[in-house]
């Protein structure tokens, strides 16, 4: 990085910090869901949820700083726009995770036993997709990536999430829980399913950016 302009160096560090913050939020999200599935909504879950929310807020602040830097004309216009779009997608993922926890807490949602294992699985796959996406972003910024492997995996995870989402929703509506519960559980499942969709979306943008950058 010896030849990189100072402004770009600062921007690079900010983006690195933002990605680390996003990973912390997702990590908190994962812990919260694990706790929730084991113990339901209790004070511990509330604390974990608040921690996730607080870290999400910090990540938002970092993203706002990055946007100011980019609007102050760090990076060339073509790269600037693409980086902004990718970071916005990461932000959407982080926001969605936080939203899921808040929905569970505010609506006193209980995940039916017959989909708990699938629920754990979809969370696990969604987080794997996010971590791969983060790796792709890191590689975009620091070196030429082995893009295709990540893209294939993210795509596979997204497809797996879609299948699980469909399977769980079918199970929910085939069950005899109340109609109200069916709807709110369905909404939570869909929200979680969105995480992998957003990961795939962002990954596609990274692919396009790599092609555009090729000289």
């Amino acid at each position: 990085m010896f030849f990189v302009l100072k402004r770009n160096k600062i921007l690079f560090e900010k983006i690195e910090n933002y990605l680390k913050s996003s990973e912390i939020v997702i990590d908190n999200f994962q812990k919260s869901i694990k706790h929730f599935l084991k113990n339901g909504i209790d004070s511990e879950f509330e604390i974990l949820m608040e921690m996730t929310n607080s870290n999400e807020g910090k990540a938002d602040d970092l993203l706002a700083e990055i946007k100011v830097s980019l609007y102050q004309k760090s990076l060339l216009p073509e790269s600037r726009e693409d980086i902004l779009i990718i970071l916005d997608r990461v932000d959407d993922i982080v926001d969605k995770s936080n939203h899921v926890l808040q929905s569970i807490y505010s609506q006193n949602i209980e995940i039916p036993k017959f989909i708990k294992d699938d629920f754990k699985e979809i969370i696990k796959i969604s987080i794997k997709a996010f971590l791969l996406l983060k790796s792709s972003v890191d590689q975009l910024l620091t070196k030429k990536s082995d893009k295709l492997d990540n893209s294939r995996l993210i795509d596979n995870y997204e497809s797996a999430c879609d299948s699980l989402q469909l399977k769980m929703i079918k199970k929910v509506f085939d069950s005899d829980i109340s109609e109200y519960c069916k709807i709110i559980v369905r909404d939570v499942i869909r929200d979680i399913g969105t995480i992998s969709d957003l990961c795939e979306d962002a990954d596609n943008i990274i692919t396009v950016l790599n092609i555009k950058r090729a000289i």
Binding site: M1, K9, L75, L76, P77, E78, L141, K143, R213, I215
Partner: protein, 311 residues
Amino acid sequence: MYRIFSGIFLGWALGANDSANVFGTAVSSKMIKYRIAVLLTAFFVILGAILQGRQGLHTLSGLTTQSQLTAFITSLAAAMTVTIMTISKLPISTSQAVVGAILGIGIMTDQLNLTGLFKIILCWIGTPFGGIIFSVLFYKIFQFVFRLLKPTLFLTDSILKIGLVLAGCYGAYALGANNVANVTGVYVGNLLTPLQAVSIGGISIALGVITFSKNVMLTVGKSIVKLDAFSALVVVLGQAVTVHIYALIGVPVSTSQAVVGAVLGIGLLKGLHLVNIKNALKVFSGWGLTPVLSAFFSIVIYFVMHLKYIP
């Protein structure tokens, strides 16, 4: 001494029009601030004019015999032509405007060095081809280097930004070195010494850059071929090298022709479907019109200034 003002006017018009060829692609793509671009251009134009502007003075002053009056008329006619084309937002050739005006004077005074004119026309034809050749060459070389180094996104960005600034400065230097002869070449031998000519010429071009160059800056590069930062760098460098070579030869040529040639070179590499043919033709037609318009103005002004009142 007032007759020098038409030369200063021409220099101002040249600066307003031609500075877009060095920083136009970078400014219109918002890679560099307009304010920084014009300050750098002004400085390096003056430097180029003073250090390497004298070669072209001899070429232009040899086309026809110039008196102070005809030198004034030449510069005025050329400046009017360049100003009209600048207001029409067309990049034009100041060299063609000056030579067209000199032609008009030569026609009226029946003194024209056709051999010298032929040499200049040959160089005009060679200029866009020089732009094409150098842009293709630089593109291939830089492409090879980038593919070898595989720089990160941030390093690429920094290299291209710094490269654009340096290429722009070199382009401005070449502009001053090559085009100062257009501005004050006609005054050498009758009103100014070569040093005075390059100094006054350089400063007047710089003034045009600072005060009136924004119009044309947004036209070059943006409307002919869609340029990315890498291509923009290659275009500016290709144009600068072409113009500098002609400065060393001593023939003032068009920076506009060089840059359009360079842009077309990129278009040829990337596929002509990227070239805005309509705008390219518009620019080329401006070049055909320029010497004709300029000759017309110089003939009319010469005629008017030689009218005598007979009571």
